[in-house]
Amino acid sequence: MSKPKVGFYWCASCGGCEEVVVDLAEAVLDVVAAVDIVFWPCAMDFKREDVEAMADGEIAVCFVNGAIRTSEQREMAELMRRKSQLIIAFGACSYTGGIPGLANQFTKEQILRYVYQGSPSTVNPKGTRPQTETNVTEGTLTLPSLDESVKTLDQTVPVDYYIPGCAPPVKLLVGAVMAVLEGKLPPKGTVLAPNKALCDQCPRIDSKPQDLSIESFHRPHEIMIDPDTCLLAQGLLCLGPATRSGCDAACINGNMPCTGCLGPVDGVHDHGAAALSATASLGAAMDERATVKLMDGIPDPVGTFYRYGLPASLLHKRHFTNGNGAG
């Protein structure tokens, strides 16, 4: 019997998710022994034509990382969906939009204007912008077009499973691969990670006061962080109460607060709203003036609570009343 075929693809991402595959270290040999990797643009020389030549559903499982921003990413997501029995959204960008999703606070026009004209390091007197088609003497050159907003993978094609994290913890990838190989997959749509909030796994949980009451929020560089005490108790904005575990508290062990990369636990559909709710409820302010002062300690609520999930949120992108980005 031939080995099951596996593909990896990347869209709008940084490459960190590819690094997770490399971080399998010697376990990657077990994976390679058990499966055939048939497509992995980051590391192996297969082309789009090779995938197009396959029969529909020929690939057993494809791990797609990265958000969807361009026409090319959309086409590739659709192609991989057609050729694969299972599509796994791999990593925060693919699952909830990730860091690239923060671009949904701006219109496409605002982004192009800043990047190709406005930014201080840009010299572009003719205002040249990338074109989807350019005629040169050798023929016509083409480029993918930029979509209006950053989308998650499941806002583009149906997705079977999700692996959260920025980047996803290696053990979640190992767990997913083993589940596929052993045919022990949970119901479709499941997030392949523990369904408990990070606080539950936190090594500092014993130092979390019964009644947390945060007088003011600090940013990590503003205080000396005690390495053994609950970060919320120290006034750091830690998203542990509202974020899925599965990371073995990697950031906490590095003495930094959780920024929410694994997204929400099951049943929560807007991670930012849940994190905002948890954070606000822990504040000490008991009147309106103190509340305003407390919240001044969170200068960028969207960037704080939706750092990895703006496209998957209920609002999806910034609202512009006049629709042309001037607002």
């Binding site: 709203a273 905002l276 709710s277 606000a280 504040g283 509340t291 305003v292 407390l294 609002l315």
Partner: protein, 158 residues
């Protein structure tokens, strides 16, 4: 542009012990006020998950009004204080996302203040008429509808 025929849709979350009772009082006292609110009773304003507010905007609300007991009067001691902090932070968040913070309003209305329900509702309807309809762009399919149903199902408020 101002449209005189625009009738705002306002979702109102009122707490059982104070504001909902006040709106009952407004009704039994035969006070008339703008019919633009759809009132949802919560046991406490502290039950207001910020997801409810965003889901309301997502599903076509032009404004969200939240009514709770005055500070110090909460039936559950401190639910309204949590709401005060959540709404302050949520207002800042929605403003960053291009939604005018005036579309989100928190008021303390005691059970005896039927007239305040009347005044606040009328004021808010007037203010939202000035702002105009919200009309959020749709979320890319296929997930939008399922996402909303799932919020309702998970929260048991279908």
């Amino acid at each position: 542009m101002f449209d005189p025929n625009f009738e705002p849709r306002i979702v109102a979350f009122f707490c059982n012990w104070c504001t909902y009772t006040a709106s009952d009082l407004a009704g039994t006292s035969r006070m008339t006020y703008a019919p633009n609110t759809r009132v949802i009773r919560l046991m406490c304003s502290g039950r207001l998950n910020p997801q409810f507010v965003l889901a309301a905007f997502r599903q076509g609300a032009d404004g969200v009004l939240i009514g709770g007991c005055h500070p110090g009067d909460c039936h559950y001691q401190e639910g309204n204080y949590k709401t005060m902090r959540r709404v302050e932070l949520l207002k800042r968040m929605v403003e960053q996302m291009g939604i005018e913070p005036q579309r989100l309003r928190l008021e303390w209305i005691a059970a005896s203040e039927g007239d305040k329900v009347q005044r606040v509702t009328n004021e808010m309807v007037e203010q939202i008429k000035q702002l105009g309809p919200l009309n959020l762009d749709a979320i890319p399919q296929p997930e939008a509808g399922e996402q909303l149903e799932a919020v309702a199902a998970a929260e048991g408020v279908a």
